[in-house]
Amino acid sequence: MKRATREEISRELREMGSELPVSPESKGFGVPDGYFDRLSIDIRDRITAEKSSPNARPVSITLIPRRLAYAMVAVMVLLAFSVSLFLIDRGTDNGYLSEADHVWQEDYFTLYASMDPLYFYELVLEEPQNVARSEAAASEINKVEEEAILQYLYNTSEFYNITLEDLTMPEEGVANGS
């Protein structure tokens, strides 16, 4: 496992204009004395207990009579099919497992990002530059996970002609569509 060096972390923070201290040696959190020496023993004991448990390992299918095994598989397939039908047809308008949420999100992002993708991005930062825009829209967008919006903007950056630098270091006035 190769980590980034402290220099890389520090440089990254400086490039984004951050004043955060580079990660200190002390994490602040402490543990009881000798904790990590005991932890490995505790883990070993847990695993030993798991091994001794009758449910520790799945029953080998070869120990089950073949006909019974086929019957069990068939029942499971039927059950899974029934449950999926239930979940698709019940619940919200299009079911718990529906793609509606993803479709809604995509449509929503497309609508607002096409108007002004970097304003849309500013809303994610909760620092809209242009408050004359619909505040209802701002309130709706803020409810959506920031990560989902960022991922969407990143995925569509070429389409909207946004660079990674735009997404990471927005400039003032960029929300005006310039």
Binding site: I9, G28, F29, E147
Partner: protein
Amino acid sequence: MTHYSDEDLLDMYNQGDNPDYAFNLLVSKYQQQIYWHIRRMVISHDDTNDLVQDVFVKIWKGLDRFRGDAGLYTWMYRIATNEALTFLKKKRTRYFLPLVDVEQNLAEQLEADVYYDGNEIEKTIQKAILSLPEKQRIVFNLRYYDQMKYEDMSKVLDTSEGALKASYHHAAKKIEKFIHN
């Protein structure tokens, strides 16, 4: 103590005469990293202790089937991340706490934690981190504290490197804003 690579440990586990010994070496190698990763998410030492053990039991159970297409390290971190997130989700639903209250609860735990010995700046940074959305908190912790490369983080969190970089930058800005306020 001899340091074994992940590949060596996997070989020892899969092909060696003593897979338990190989697994113990794996635990020794990664227990602290996994512990701190979870601890920064759930704050409480006692909760972390339980979760770390659960994580390693899951790792042990899954090691037979681990194909190595993702690195062992990223696979283990993924399990640990999911365990921490599941724990926080259960905490939220068990006590009917809305999102804000769980984070407030964690901040209060931080204040009361007898094992916390950080200075005021570190404590403020921790509280600022707790104010971030969960996934962004993970991104920040993995980069800032664990110095994880974005390439590895992408495999742990199943998110593109670009989105992770943007998320990390946002997190740093929010933390600074929190500190200044």
